[in-house]
Amino acid sequence: MGGEAGAAGTFEPVVVAFTCSWCGYPSAVLAGVNRIEYPPGVMIVRVMCSGMVEPAYMMRAFEQGADGVIVVGCQMDNCHYMTGNKRAQERVDMVRVLLRTLGLDDRRLRTEWMNASERVRFAQVMNEFVAELKGLGPSPAVPCEEKA
């Protein structure tokens, strides 16, 4: 796993997207059903609520070679489980501090809140995130030779 500099020197970032079962994941599904394209390196992980994405999940993704991690959940104040997305935001903020101390750019970890049918926005967010990661380059958390 992990983004790799291909033969032509192209770098396709690997993104782990934790999507909640009620808004993030349906949006991803709808984007797929409607054939809206987003980058192939985006790996969708469905979770019941964004609030269950522990800091360890995010760090583990980086440990195993992700170039970026995004947590996608319901709109603020509209969480299916009341306050899960607030919890997720707190945890992401904390992990971003850890990433900075570790020497990883904190732009590699972000959140996005959306409604259940935002297929276009989902694809747009992923496109933007991957473009940003391309600018940042491969994650230094994993050495290049391990990424193949």
């Binding site: 999940y57 570790l102 050495p143």
Partner: protein, 388 residues
């Protein structure tokens, strides 16, 4: 194959010498609340069926807190703690690892530090009023106090975030300018005690390179886990002795107090001291912290009922198996501390602080007035008592 490994472990840790006196079981903090656990029973099981596959799935292998009270009480000096560590390393090779508190967040960070090509920002805590150097005879190992204080930022009453500053302030007051390095990584204690020896080896290489680059002859620790890992596990993993001496800050502080280099101001406080297992039983440092406390005017120092090598455990090590029994254990500890009448319990270990603080945060089935005692960092306490 696995039989041979187990037999060697039994031999290396002198487990054959066991005379079944049961002292280890009677002092074991885990056995107190979990009657099925006994350090020596694991050795018996290993002898009866020497298969790592079977042993690795034993819950007992992972509920041990590795506090080493068994080994320190054993009349034949059987090293149960090392036996457990060895078995865990073998289990990890089979891919059997425990479920850790924080979901293994800190373990992941350590592995990233071991293999990544990172430009860390480890020295953000160095403020202009602290004097440090890139090179020098004495090196200060920062450790993970800063990472831990980020992870536990929403916990009330934890104050170990200021440990590195406090340590440097104390050293500066004694006229020492410590070397620090941004290339240093975690010591790897938690990886070691969850069986990840490869992860530990990667961290060892980086740490030794970073410290050698500073030209240090002495490496100072505040964290007992770092001290234990450097002085016991680093030489054991490598082939050679460390190219520097390893000391705990309390040992240096005690010397400086005797030489009159550290001056304290009047500090009104009644305190007790918790001997962290890594500092006490693992490394044998008991007296220096007590000497320092006695040198501070106004500080009334009271011992815990179970002190020094009999000091009760904080309940968890390496983030492995924090369960209901752990909480009971922690309540015992806090009750004992409260009974001394002290206003604060001091300790060097940031993990002990995290664990005991956690026990206080939970909805506990005990009268809060019996256990409500703040646990503070020793280094921070001493730095605050320095003459300004």
């Amino acid at each position: 194959m696995s039989e041979k490994v187990i037999k060697r472990l039994i031999q290396d840790t002198r487990a054959f010498d066991c005379v079944e006196c049961g002292k280890c079981t009677s002092v074991c903090p885990v056995t107190r609340f979990n009657r099925e656990f006994a350090p020596r029973l694991l050795v018996v099981k290993a002898m009866e069926s020497p298969s790592i596959e079977a042993l690795a799935k034993e819950r007992d292998l992972w509920v041990c807190t590795t506090c080493a009270v068994c080994s320190s009480m054993c009349p034949y000096k059987v090293d149960y703690t090392e036996f457990i560590r060895g078995l865990r390393a073998e289990s990890a090779l089979l891919g059997i690892t425990p479920e850790c508190s924080q979901g293994g967040l800190l373990h992941s960070m350590m592995r990233i530090m071991g293999k990544g090509e990172l430009k860390q920002r480890r020295l953000d805590w160095v403020t202009p009023d602290l004097t440090v150097a890139p090179k020098g005879d004495i090196y200060y190992f920062t450790g993970c106090a800063k990472h831990l204080s980020t992870v536990f930022q929403d916990r009330k009453g934890l104050d170990f975030g200021g440990v590195p500053e406090a340590a440097v302030r104390i050293m500066n007051a004694a006229g020492v300018v410590p070397a620090v390095s941004n290339d240093e990584v975690c010591c790897g204690h938690d990886l070691n005690w969850t069986g990840d020896e490869n992860g530990l080896a990667a961290l060892i290489d980086r740490n030794l390179a970073a410290i050698k680059a500073t030209g240090a002859k002495k490496v100072v620790f505040t964290c007992p886990e770092g001290l234990r890992t450097f002085s016991v596990d680093y030489p054991a993993m490598g082939d050679e002795d460390l190219p520097f001496e390893v000391v705990h800050l309390s040992q240096l502080m005690a010397e400086w107090v005797k030489e009159g280099k550290l001056k304290f101001r009047e500090t009104k406080a009644k305190v007790t001291y918790h001997d962290a297992c890594r500092l006490g039983r693992h490394m044998g440092v008991y007296d220096p912290p007590r000497e320092v406390l006695r040198a501070i005017p106004g500080v009334e120092f009271v011992e815990l009922e179970n002190n020094r090598d009999k000091c009760l455990c904080c309940g968890v090590s390496g983030w492995v198996s924090c369960d209901a029994n752990t909480k009971l254990l922690q309540m015992e500890k806090l009750k004992e501390a409260k009974r001394t009448g002290a206003g604060t319990m001091l300790t060097f270990c940031p993990k002990c602080q995290v664990h005991l603080n956690c026990a206080l945060q939970d909805k506990i089935p005990v009268d809060r007035a019996l256990v409500d005692i703040p646990v503070q960092d020793f280094t921070v306490f001493v730095a605050n008592a320095l003459m300004r």
